[in-house]
Symmetry: C2
Subunit: 153 residues, 2 copies
DNA sequence: CCGAATTAGTCAGGGCACTGAGTATTTTCT
DNA sequence: AGAAAATACTCAGTGCCCTGACTAATTCGG
């Protein structure tokens, strides 16, 4: 009786969207490399030699998750990790040749996948799609740290 | 050099949207009950006595995941599960009193959270937001099983 | 210069999500 | 009725994702 219609719940929609994306990614891009892993490779193509934390920031993953993702990429030898001689806390990340090749290959497929994924929308709708999601996500992220250095309690 | 701009990648945006939602859910709705768990409770409020598989279908979770989620809800005694006397394969699910109370409480908070989450958009934009995401997700899901019982190869 | 705060990363723990393989039960087809 | 197919669920394995507590290294303040 008091049940709610989930199709008007943004969280539910977001989850469905991600599931749909995951499905398409697996069939059109790669079953080995996941979308977050590709995002990490991509960040390192854009800015080689970043440290772990900064990569996490670029792709939107917290320090725990980024450590796991990077661990997997290292196991697959797409990446390696060396201590920063300047700052012994940091690990500097670099793509291996294999990592670079993999990124190039997947970048092409990813572009194709995005076209299929967004196929149902025309150009204007695609722009709206991006803008709306970005506005909602940015606003919600902003709620977390409004003034930053004011102790929460 | 060949790096790509992730902000035009729907998969990346979908992930960020979900993360933002997760954050807000934790602070405004519940730290105990997750959004998928609430979706299950809600499905059972709408249609009491559903079996496990059907609940999964209603909320968009595969058989493995729904089993885990239901397991957790049973551990918290918000649900119970009995074998269908008519069909020994099925488990029938029913909310406990506590489950019903929890659903009622969270439904209110969820509505508040959605308002905050969608706050940056006006009414028309919210409608567009829902419609665009739904169209993309529906289309991608449709790609998986186009004719159903035709062997894919 | 030395102790305190900050920062980078790890680890444990919980939850979501999928695939593929296996078990039990029911239905269907001969 | 009995074998085959379909169905509901479980289990193992992998990966993403977060929080909170901890360790090690650096920086900052007195």
């Amino acid at each position: 009786m008091a049940a709610v219609d989930l199709s008007t719940h943004p969280g539910h929609l977001a989850r469905r969207l991600q599931q749909a994306h995951h499905l398409l990614w697996n069939t059109m891009v790669s079953e080995e490399i996941t979308s977050p892993q590709f995002a990490v490779l991509n960040a390192l193509v854009a800015e080689p030699g970043l440290d772990q934390r900064t990569v996490g920031e670029r792709v939107g993953l917290d320090r725990s998750t980024i450590a796991e993702v990077i661990g997997r990429l290292i196991r697959r030898e797409l990446l390696d990790k060396v201590r920063d001689p300047q700052d012994g806390r940091r690990f500097l990340l670099r793509l291996t040749d294999d990592g670079l090749r993999t990124h190039r290959k997947l970048a092409v497929r990813t572009a194709r996948m995005n076209q299929v994924f967004l196929g149902p929308l025309d150009a204007g709708e695609q722009a709206a799609f991006f803008a709306l999601i970005r506005r909602v996500a940015d606003a919600a992220e902003g709620l977390r740290r409004p003034g930053e250095p004011a102790a929460p309690r």
